[in-house]
């Protein structure tokens, strides 16, 4: 079997497994799976910017929050459903991403400085949203919860199974989209920029334009995730949605899974979420009930992975499976 054929078979198996999962699993597994898919999606989005184009963003919670608040605000005040809200979310995130990207790239900010700029914007927005009373301010924005038993896709109200499938569709869509992106002209240019920006510039690539494109696409995708977030949790607090720890959660998956790979963000999200829950389970079973021990173990696991698998888990596995790591 060729590497590509093998990849297709594995992908098909995974797809079937994911579709069948909610019919055989309990609700707990379903909620964990939904969470994994959410982080797989946001990880995929972040990966476009960092993994493909080499721009390190540590403030992606900004786009999650903007997307979430845009759609939730429309729904809360005007009863306009998320399928309209998502466009507003995308538009806002595109504008925000474009502003940040424009400022950063025009003023020649890169590397650590760019990363800190993204944090600054996210924090700036977090505190700002604490003061927007129209969106609940620090007291939070609560979406009314109704229609628990039926699927109302138009208003994104329904059972956990529905949310699972919506998230699965989003994650699958993101995967397909990123596959296409990576093989498109943009993908090659991004790779060139990531490897050596000056060289890319010298080759006549308009690095500014392509970097902007990466930021904007990444922001828009993350905004869509935000819409899901708003309707899944039904309440938004600036303190939570824009918090830097959420940005870190987003980037852990792709880095652990394998930066710049298509499958890395998915694998990373799965590994980390299952790892976190397994540690909880194991500790509970072992009778260790000291708060904090879990996170210490989690941190140690992160440490071990980053030390011994600097390129992430997926490239290592892919090589073993005889697949190309993209």
């Amino acid at each position: 079997m060729s590497a590509q054929r093998r990849a297709q078979v594995l992908l098909a198996i995974l797809a079937v497994a994911l579709i069948v999962l909610p019919f055989v699993s309990g609700s707990y597994v379903l909620s964990v799976a939904t969470l994994i898919l959410f982080f797989a999606f946001t990880g995929q989005a972040w990966n476009v910017m960092m993994g493909f184009a080499g721009q390190l963003s540590l403030g992606h919670s900004l786009y999650v929050g903007l997307g979430a608040y845009a759609a939730a605000g429309l729904f809360f005040h005007y009863g306009i459903g998320p399928w309209a809200g998502v466009w507003l979310a995308i538009a806002l995130c595109v504008v925000a991403g474009a502003v940040i990207g424009f400022l950063a790239f025009r003023f020649g900010i890169s590397g650590v400085y760019f990363a800190l700029l993204t944090i600054a914007f996210a924090e700036f927005t977090r505190i700002g949203f604490d003061h927007i009373t129209w969106l609940g301010g620090a007291a939070g924005l609560f979406i009314k919860v109704e229609q628990r038993d039926t699927w109302d896709l138009l208003n994104l109200r329904g059972t956990p199974k529905m949310f699972y499938f919506v998230m699965l569709a989003l994650a699958a869509g993101a995967f397909a989209f990123c596959t296409w992106l990576l093989r498109s002209r943009a993908g090659y240019y991004w790779q060139a920029i990531r490897e050596d920006e000056d060289a890319a510039q010298a080759l006549g690539i308009n690095t500014f334009r392509w970097k902007m494109l990466a930021v904007v696409i990444s922001a828009a995708m993350t905004g869509v995730a935000g819409v899901f977030y708003a309707f899944y949790y039904n309440n938004l607090f600036p303190e939570q949605t824009y918090h830097i720890s959420r940005s870190i959660e987003i980037i852990l998956g792709p880095i652990i899974g394998g930066l710049g790979t298509l499958f890395g963000p998915i694998l990373g999200a799965a590994v980390l979420t299952i790892l976190a829950d397994s540690i909880t389970e194991i500790m509970a079973a072992a009778g260790i009930e000291v708060p904090g021990v879990k996170q210490v173990f989690y941190g140690l696991c992160l440490l071990v992975v980053i030390m011994f698998l600097p390129n992430g888990i997926w490239p290592a596995i892919a090589r073993r499976l005889g697949l190309k790591d993209k």
Binding site: G26, S27, L35, Y233, E239, A276, A286, E289, G292
Partner: protein, 416 residues
């Protein structure tokens, strides 16, 4: 089984259990545990015991830990606790709630913080498992039309109403007539909700003699409150009305001492912070005379004595008044569930929820009317007390029928 949070199984068994648990995770689809008619009520307790709210979560947990013993004695019902740490994170709160239900929790109790509570409430609602909220004040939680969510805690609105009324009572009882107040509040979920409540309620509180001359909201993450206090001091208000959390309350009080600002007193119309142990420990004599008008336990109630005894047995060396609020509401939440279970005689969630709706418990620990849920699942008429820090302990000074000391106002450090 009294304290399942500390199982004493032999090490080997624990290891086997651990292995089994990890194995179970890798195989998909946990077999749904049959909810048979049981003689034992399994209560899933979800609290933020690590992360930012860790200290309150752990305080609440003390109330849960003593509940099975007290309830067995009181109602003759067996309660088994299933504890979960939400890590102060909504994602974790949600998945932990799912896990508890899947493992057979008949009822959930939690979760102190409004955000995490809403996440859990949705799971409870979807799974049709009753949730009894111990503490969470966001009014919206019981406005969502949930059928399985119950709250035995005041909403932010009630807290404010009670708090302001008690403030008036306090002035009346001490024969004082402060004319001005400066209102400082922490700009977080809780603080904002309460401050909005105050803005709405003040115009109707015509019996209050004072006006709010300045409102200062501050960042919960603020590292330094110098400016805030300078500004408040410059307002020359007679007293400070404060809606705070613990750490900022301490920082503020310290800053007041440093800036030599001595108003008639500090009154919280309903917030944590100043009655908490850390406030006393850290500030020593400067913690004295601060006043919090908060939902509180009735120090004279019979149940309080029972719970206090159990608390002291489990936590020798800890002082009950510092944990009373957290312990009391967490205990009552579990008691409500156990009481409903006793009446329903079943762990069937629907039956249990119906039974909870029929709750009528006059013999309670916290102040206020008997525990009865309205159509929205909210207990009305939960009382507040005017709690003043006296001789190193939070002491009930109002209402008179629950008071154990007389209020002191203006505070002795006040110099007119």
């Amino acid at each position: 089984m009294t304290a399942p949070s500390k199982p004493r199984s032999p090490v080997r068994r624990r290891v086997i259990q651990a292995a089994a648990a990890s194995a179970a995770l890798t195989t998909l689809g946990f077999p749904a545990i049959v909810r048979a008619q049981s003689k034992r009520l399994k209560v899933g307790v979800l609290l933020p015991r690590s992360g930012y709210q860790g200290f309150i979560g752990q305080s609440c947990q003390k109330g849960a830990d003593l509940a099975p013993g007290v309830i067995k004695q009181m109602l003759g019902v067996d309660v088994e606790l299933m504890n979960a740490d939400t890590e102060t994170n909504v994602d974790v709160a949600r998945t932990r709630a799912e896990r508890l239900i899947q493992e057979g929790a008949n009822v959930l109790v939690g979760a102190f913080d409004s955000g995490q509570t809403v996440a859990i409430a949705q799971v409870a609602e979807q799974r049709g498992t009753p949730l009894v909220i111990n503490i969470a004040a966001a009014p919206q939680i019981t406005e969502q039309g949930y059928k399985f969510v119950f709250r035995n805690f005041q909403t932010a609105r009630d807290i404010v109403g009670n708090g302001l009324r008690l403030t008036g009572d306090l002035f009346h009882a001490t024969n004082t007539v402060p004319r001005t107040a400066v209102f400082m509040h922490v700009n977080d979920t809780f603080g904002t909700a309460v401050s909005r409540g105050i803005a709405a309620a003040m115009p109707h509180m015509t019996q209050l003699p004072f006006k709010i001359v300045d409102t200062i909201s501050y960042d919960p993450a603020a590292r330094d409150l110098t400016v805030e206090v300078s500004k408040a001091k410059a307002s020359n208000a007679d007293f400070l009305m404060l809606v705070c959390r613990l750490n900022d309350a301490i920082a503020l009080r310290r800053e007041m001492v440093k800036q030599r600002w001595n108003p008639m007193g500090i009154i919280s119309p309903g917030s944590p912070g100043m009655y908490e142990e850390q406030y006393f420990k850290t500030l020593g004599k400067f913690s004295e005379y601060s006043i919090s008008n908060v939902p509180w336990y009735n120090p004279r109630a019979e149940l309080t004595h029972v719970v206090e005894k159990a608390f002291q047995k489990q936590n020798p060396g800890e002082k009950f008044p510092f944990h009373g609020l957290n312990v009391g509401f967490t205990f009552e939440a579990i008691m409500i569930a156990a009481d409903a279970f006793k009446r329903a005689g079943s762990t069937d969630p629907k039956t249990l929820a119906d039974a909870i709706r029929q709750t009528n418990i006059p013999r309670k620990m916290m102040l206020g009317a008997p525990i009865k849920f309205n159509a929205k699942g909210q207990v009305e008429g939960i009382g507040s007390a005017c709690v003043q820090n006296l001789k190193g302990l939070p002491t009930v000074v109002l209402p008179a029928d629950a008071a154990t000391a007389k209020p002191v106002f203006p505070a002795p450090y006040y110099k007119a």
